[in-house]
Amino acid sequence: MSAYFDIPSDLQHSYTGLIGVHLKEALLPVLFGLVVALPLGQLCARFKWLYPPVLWVTTVLYAIPSLAFFVVLIDYTGATETTVMIPLTVYSLVLLVPAIVDGTRAVPQETLAAATAMGFGPLRRFLQVELPIAVPAIIAGLRLAVVSSISLVSVGTLIGNQGALGNLLADGLFYHRTPLIVTSVVTTALLAIVMDGLLVLVQVLLTPWAPRGRKGARRVRSAAQEPDPGAGAAASAGPAALEDAVR
């Protein structure tokens, strides 16, 4: 086992230390991305003309390869963690803005009208009605952003050992220690799966009204009461049916 967890001293971190650095470099950018994407997404949902240009700019930014992004930033922020985190923030932003816009647009007009009629002001309506209903869509975006961010941090090793668990890859090649490479790949994949699972859990906790599991799906289907087997297949088709029920 020690071949897998005996981390070379040049990395200046233990195995758990590397995991900590990796999570920091992966999750902080997603957090920053969310902080910027929430107001931006709201603006795009409110002012329809704003969305196409924003979408266009974000698509172009997303297309810039991570390595190219990193190396151009070296000139400004040096070979530091910041250089890794800036592109990851941009990528998170790109994934989150459409998710937030779609989630906000999915709130039914009647629900908004009902909230207004009950005397909700714009801020309270946003916090207590629009945001909770948009939660499934926002979490879906967050899941994509977190998983891709965790995977991309490793590339940081190419710009001077800023890749946390990715640094094990370079060391594994350099010292001819394949177990280190296996450790890096398996740990990174596990981190991504665990964080993804945590986000699903957060969604379950934040949306207690959503139907759960097979029982919920069946309830949705019988509520729809579709005699035609063809149309029934459309209603029974798993996650999306659940999502519609949530909305």
Binding site: A68, I159, I181, A192
Partner: protein, 223 residues
């Protein structure tokens, strides 16, 4: 000296335009790797996506598969495959690239076909169309814009990851960045980065263009 100076230096240096290390050759290598990876991925993912989307079954399995595939770190996989297969070159690079591209194509194709308005599909079935004709003449044309968006995001990720593949001695535009970093010639690094970013933008533009040509005007208007 700022980034723009490096870019102009790189492109005005005549030595960068000739031979096996020249820009045209590296660009071709990069495009070749990307096209093969994308081709293999599409050949795997499109038929499965079309079939599962048409029958509407297997959504949970596809969701679980795509979560697992996304969790795989491409760069780590690239290094691991190079070590395991004991070879340097295109084959070990293909595996992570294909693993990366299959999930987005598969999931968006499935979602695209499944979310086609059931009314025209029922109408086609009622007219006595063969299930295959329903899929290819009704569902596919309507689902095409979404399918293209899946192919596009797969292509962008492949172009980006093929750059990193230079780390394990595959050719392509990533060579400039990796070699430049090793030799501390920042001109090369920034020049390579510019080329890769340019290629990624051309990829988006190409997809946009093909989509304009292939998607039926009626479908485009209704979106």
């Amino acid at each position: 000296m700022n980034v723009l100076h490096f870019v102009t230096d790189f492109f005005s240096d005549g030595a960068n335009w000739h031979g096996s290390g020249g820009i045209p050759h590296r660009m071709l290598e990069h495009i070749q790797v990307c096209l093969i990876a994308l081709g293999i991925s599409a050949a795997i993912a499109l038929p499965i996506g079309l079939f599962t989307g048409h029958t509407g079954r297997g959504g949970y399995i596809l969701a679980a598969f795509s979560t697992a595939a996304r969790a795989l770190p491409s760069f780590g996989l690239l290094v691991l495959m190079t070590v395991w297969l004991h070879r340097i070159g295109t084959t070990p690079a293909m595996i992570p690239l294909v693993a990366l591209a299959v999930a987005p194509i598969l999931v968006t194709t499935f979602e695209a076909i499944r979310s086609v308005d059931p009314a025209p599909v029922d109408a086609a079935r009622g007219m006595g169309m063969h299930p295959m004709s329903v899929l290819f003449q009704v569902e596919l044309p309507v689902a095409l814009p979404l399918i293209f968006s899946g192919l596009r995001s797969a292509a962008i990720q492949v172009v980006s990851t093929a750059t990193i593949a230079a780390y394990v001695s595959v050719g392509g535009l990533g060579r400039y960045i990796i070699d430049g970093l090793a030799q501390h010639t920042y001109t090369k690094v920034v020049g390579g980065a510019t080329l890769v970013a340019g290629l990624a933008l051309v990829t988006i533009a190409l997809f946009w263009l093909v989509e304009r040509l292939v998607v039926s005007p009626g479908v485009r208007r209704s979106r």
